[in-house]
């Protein structure tokens, strides 16, 4: 087994034309698995989708000492509530993938989109680093 239990290639924050490898740690996967949080496991499909085709990449987690972390933002059309139940994506929400500097995927979840900009999540106050033309 490699560094991650499940790994993905996505846009590299340090080289926006390149890619870097990120992934889900085996301990985190096994935790959700053992505790029966099926929705978190099923939504790894959405993690893959967002990392393949993000609509925004934000640096910083809106708190001290986490300026070097990242949030990948996407707008999947569907949600996975389990391995067998797919629904339409919740309206007005974006799917966020939170990634640590090591490339470890820490959290993935839906979040309301901002009232000011439907392509940006509510209450994520980091710096938009991609696409650069949307905001400064």
């Amino acid at each position: 087994m490699g560094r991650w239990f499940i790994s993905f290639l996505t846009r590299n924050p340090d080289d926006l034309d390149g890619q870097w490898e990120v992934g889900i740690d085996e301990r985190l996967y096994k935790l959700y698995q053992n505790q029966g949080r099926e929705v978190n496991l099923a939504r790894i499909v959405l993690v893959d989708e967002v990392l393949s085709d993000p609509i925004a990449l934000i640096q910083g987690w809106s708190r001290p000492d986490k300026e070097d972390c990242f949030v990948y933002v996407g707008r999947p059309r569907e949600d996975y509530r389990s391995f067998t139940i797919q629904t339409a994506a919740p309206p007005g929400k974006l799917f966020l993938v939170f990634i640590l500097p090591s490339g470890s995927i820490d959290l993935w979840t839906w979040r309301n989109s901002s009232a000011d900009d439907p392509d940006m999540p509510e209450d994520v106050k980091g710096t938009l680093i991609w696409p650069s033309q949307l905001k400064t």
Binding site: Q33, G36, E38, V45, C69, D79, T109, W110, R111
Partner: protein, 132 residues
């Protein structure tokens, strides 16, 4: 739009979850965050304040979990105020630490609810580093 690879779904299905949800909490040392799930419902997240993000049910908007940021400092300070048990710190105490400084009713109500849920489920924190 990108579609999930068949290999990924096949891999996930070959590593399925346990049949029954069991409430849990865990600490991510690298993220310096505590994550708690009381229920198995599909959730979305909503930031309550600088330290607390709530997980809310997509169907009912009820609180099904939360994420506490900056957990290291909180746990380091706890023994100055209370006796910390050797077999784990009651999770409800973490919420109590936020309850005192809550400026608004929304935050107070959320902290009280989180503490009650943690108490009812008797969730305890393991030492930092034990989680994912």
């Amino acid at each position: 739009m990108a579609k999930p690879t068949k290999d990924l779904m096949k891999f996930l299905k070959s590593n399925p979850p346990g049949k029954q949800f069991v409430p849990f909490c865990f600490i991510s040392k690298e993220a310096d965050a505590l994550t708690v799930f009381f229920e198995g419902d599909p959730e979305y997240s909503k930031r309550l304040n600088d330290h607390v993000t709530l997980f809310l049910s997509l169907d009912t908007d009820e609180i099904v979990g939360c994420r506490i940021k900056g957990i290291t400092d909180i746990l380091q300070d706890l023994p100055n105020y209370i006796h910390v048990e050797h077999n784990g710190t009651p999770l409800s105490l973490v919420f109590w630490s936020f309850r005192g400084g809550a400026q608004d009713r929304k935050t107070r109500d959320a902290m009280n609810l989180l503490a009650r849920e943690a108490q009812e489920r008797q969730l305890k924190l393991e030492p930092i580093g034990a989680g994912g």
